[in-house]
């Protein structure tokens, strides 16, 4: 919904920061919160999936930080079809039962016991950052990946409001008809930056943005410095560290903090906390900055909410691209992912039930910073926006907003 510009939180808003993590489903990360917060659409504990023996495996609160989801669960289009519809070759009109996750994971190792781990979820005490932010600010019950497929096409929706017809990682072509959110903002004289972790991790927006507009990019230390210098751009998009590697500057080991299986989830928790603390603890930024923490897609991990239909994108991916018997018209969303909006102007404990997807990101930023803008994908034009959640009449006090300390 378009924000009420008379609200003080909107009037003061100067910066929006989007942090997009990797490959975890809503139920896997936040599903356990339902026990304490019934309005959060998580797990009852009774959800099951059939395994390949025909037995019903249950969701269990036994997710581990690392070494459990190895190999990386398949989340390409056909595998996600199996996870949602129970058939890798077909989608609708089959019903989206969400009963194929265990069978999909079984296909990778033919190990029944291992395949059941795709149903495991974290208890809140294991994810103090994500669960605290979800319950202290606004959590989205219905934020879905834009495509039932892998990372790069999903991330494209956050940058362009479309993937230009791609359902895979092979996004080598970006159509000219829709500009990236960055180009739109630059044309409107706004400041923007994509911050990747470091040059050794870099970006997933290689072929278009990094090639053609390298000046759009900075590193995570640049982001931290911009916060310290009160020089944060109007819009920031942060990418986590995608690999374990030696830091290019010789400063030591840089551990992956994207939470992509099989990277240690704790590193991602600390990364989210670092972004949050940097803004939270700066009195010149905290009142005028909103932070969206969102995951690009579910990574093949179980979620119980069937993805809904959506406005077609105007593109069609052929069966050769989907790996299924069907063409895909971009008319349904991917699996649900965690998404949290943080601001001292957000009502504590907000739970949002409207449907969002990654096209909501450029839709929100464009609406807020530019205003009416027609040259957008059909999906982005109808995507819900989220800044109306900065609705409080008075900013929450310091004592009412959590802080984190890294151990």
């Amino acid at each position: 919904m378009t924000p009420d510009r008379s609200k003080p939180g909107i009037q003061q808003l100067k910066h929006v920061v989007v942090l997009m993590m990797e490959n975890r489903s809503f139920d896997h990360m936040l599903g356990a919160l339902k026990a304490q917060y019934p309005s959060i659409d998580g797990l009852t504990g009774n959800e099951t999936n059939p395994d390949t023996t025909g037995a019903h495996a249950s969701v269990l609160p036994q997710a581990e930080y690392q070494s459990q989801l190895d190999p990386d669960p398949n989340h390409h289009f056909a595998a996600v079809n199996l996870q949602i519809f129970g058939d890798p070759a077909k989608g609708p009109p089959l019903p989206p039962t969400m009963q194929g996750f265990v069978r999909s994971y079984y296909n990778q190792q033919q190990n029944v016991a291992h395949s059941q781990k795709i149903l495991y979820y974290f208890t809140p005490d294991k994810l103090p950052v994500l669960t605290t932010l979800a319950t202290e600010y606004a959590v989205f019950n219905r934020w879905f990946a834009s495509i039932p497929g892998p990372t790069i096409c999903n991330r494209a929706f956050a940058h362009y409001g479309t993937s230009f017809g791609q359902v895979s990682m092979e996004l080598f072509y970006v159509g000219k008809q829709y500009k990236s959110i960055y180009d739109r903002l630059l044309a409107a004289k706004h400041t923007v930056k994509l911050f990747y972790y470091d040059q050794a991790s870099s970006t997933m927006e290689v072929v278009n943005l990094l090639q053609n507009e390298p000046s759009l990019f900075g590193t995570f230390p640049d982001f931290l410095r911009a916060c310290d210098d009160n020089a944060l751009p109007d819009y920031c998009f942060i990418e986590p560290n995608y690999t374990d590697h030696d830091a290019p500057d010789g400063s030591g080991e840089a551990i992956a903090c994207d939470q992509h299986p099989d990277h240690d989830v704790r590193a991602g928790e600390q990364f989210i906390a670092t972004v949050y603390n940097k803004i939270r603890n700066n009195p010149k930024l905290w009142p005028n900055t909103a932070i969206l923490i969102v995951y690009d897609e579910h990574g093949g991990i179980y979620d119980h909410v069937p993805p809904p239909a959506c406005t077609p994108d105007g593109f069609v991916a052929q069966p050769t691209d989907t790996g299924t018997l069907d063409a895909f018209h971009f008319d349904r969303l991917g699996v649900r992912v965690p998404a949290i909006l943080v601001s001292p102007w957000v009502q504590k404990g907000s739970v949002i039930n409207d449907v969002f997807e990654h096209a909501s990101i450029p839709a929100t930023i464009t609406d807020f910073l530019i205003g009416p803008y027609d040259a957008r994908s059909p999906r982005e034009k109808v995507a819900n926006t989220f800044l109306d959640l900065l609705s409080l009449d008075a900013m929450r006090g310091d004592d009412d907003c959590p802080s984190f300390q890294l151990e």
Binding site: V129, I152, Q199, P214, D244, D264, R266, A267, Q270, Q405
Partner: protein, 136 residues
């Protein structure tokens, strides 16, 4: 509100010899596409077969990222022209044949991405064809 402690990963969680995921394989493919398209000459000669671990892949990604930020560090590859030393013998060939052909210079390729006129092959998205009806 109390400060919430956030545990970090143990030292053994760092595994730079972990095989790369499909995601990093794709990221490398994207960089390789640009390396070849822009004919970049990276400081290190990477063999694609060696980019199998996160640690190794990240070194290639770092050099490619630096090259895209600063094209001067990865000047385009140009063929070195082969120069034949002048013959010691006097040239007795007829004058007409002595007219030298213009030397064909190797074509320069600008590595600034915006200067590149060649577009990557676009996969044309077309509406789905209706399935052919089987003859009964």
């Amino acid at each position: 509100m109390a400060i919430i402690l956030v545990p970090g990963p143990p030292a053994e969680a760092f595994r730079k010899n972990r095989p790369i995921s499909d995601l990093i394989k794709s990221q490398i493919r994207h960089f390789q596409h640009l390396e070849h398209k822009l004919r970049l000459d990276l400081p290190t000669k990477f063999s694609p077969h060696d980019l199998t671990t996160e640690g190794a892949a990240s070194k290639y990604i770092a050099e490619m990222t630096a090259a895209l930020h600063n094209p001067a560090t990865a000047a385009p590859q140009t063929a070195t022209p082969i120069r034949v030393p002048p013959s010691q013998r006097p040239d007795n060939t007829p004058a007409l044949r002595a007219i030298p052909k213009p030397l064909r210079q190797p074509q320069r390729v600008d590595i600034a991405a915006s200067a590149s006129t060649k577009k990557p092959s676009a996969k044309k998205q077309v509406p789905a064809k209706p399935a052919k009806k089987k003859r009964s």
